[in-house]
Subunit: 185 residues, 2 copies
């Protein structure tokens, strides 16, 4: 049950996602979200009773949107290389759009202080992302020394997570491209 962007619930989730990715789960309040959307904090609670509910909804919507945007990893119309480039571009957009790092990375960072359902949402995000990457990588012709597909997917995801983090921490968007350019070669 993912709210559309047009509904109030959808606007709330969108605002909360942006805030979470910029500032972390504890870096925004119900009042912040209410102000973003143009309503009062009590109305936010009407749609998402607790902050745990809101955080879990954000994680679920974020994961679904990513997987939907990526599409079928086995689509014969698209080469594995093109699919990988598409995946890299998702992260690049977050970096370019303004200091938004991956929601999964943010959840992992603050994990110990997060409500259970939010942490679970982050784990699901990583699992789905890795499954998609593994499916794509399985299509590539095996190299001379075939690295386990699982390890390749982990390495790819880790590189993107870290590159986005460094670019944000250093205020250097070009650091992202420098770090990940080897992927596309």
């Amino acid at each position: 049950m993912t709210a559309t962007q047009a509904s109030t619930a959808g606007k709330i989730v969108a605002a909360a996602e942006r805030r979470m990715r910029e500032s972390g789960f504890h870096g925004f309040s119900f009042r912040d979200i209410a102000a973003d959307v143009g309503i009062k904090s009590a109305s936010v609670h009407h749609h998402f009773p607790t902050k745990e509910d809101l955080g879990a909804a954000v994680a679920e919507a974020y994961t679904k949107r990513l997987i939907d945007a990526l599409g079928d990893p086995n689509d014969p119309q698209r080469t594995p290389e093109a699919l990988i480039a598409l995946y890299v571009d998702v992260y690049r957009q977050g970096v370019q759009k303004g200091r938004q790092t991956c929601l999964g990375g943010m959840i992992a960072c603050e994990l110990t202080s997060l409500p259970n359902e939010v942490g679970r949402g982050g784990a699901v995000f990583f699992e789905r992302s890795l499954s998609w990457l593994e499916a794509v990588l399985r299509r590539k012709p095996p190299t001379a020394e075939p690295e386990a597909v699982q390890a390749q997917a982990l390495r790819l995801l880790a590189l993107l997570q870290g590159a986005a983090l460094i670019a944000k921490g250093l205020h250097r968007k070009d650091a992202f491209d420098l770090a990940v350019k080897s992927i596309l070669e």
Copy 2:
């Protein structure tokens, strides 16, 4: 001016570092730190008047400790490969010791909601880390297609950051080793 571990100020910084790396800057309070050290929150304020002061002190101590532990990147007694392995081990220890990710990554994650001096401390950490890595990589014999040392260092740091994050988010410590094993080959 870095407090020793034995002093109260040192214990406060150590406790704050652990909490920041596990839970984020907004994931702990002065009262939490006071309880960890065995004093009252007013006493914590005596050593670090504001949370910004405390966060900046943690970042500075963390950076200094890492660089000190790594030592001279041009030490002829140690090969570049051994130095890289040492660097990887620093991150592995954080993962193994229990869900502690890199402080620099955590600061980058929450950047927008952090006090200025804390954010600056995170940037300094990344700069110092990259400088050390670049110095080590400059010693390696250039490969056929010489990748820029700067890009190599960024890629290495990003991979470690991301691998630690994924391991924490998935509760899978083995994910870290799988993701970074290619570095050591």
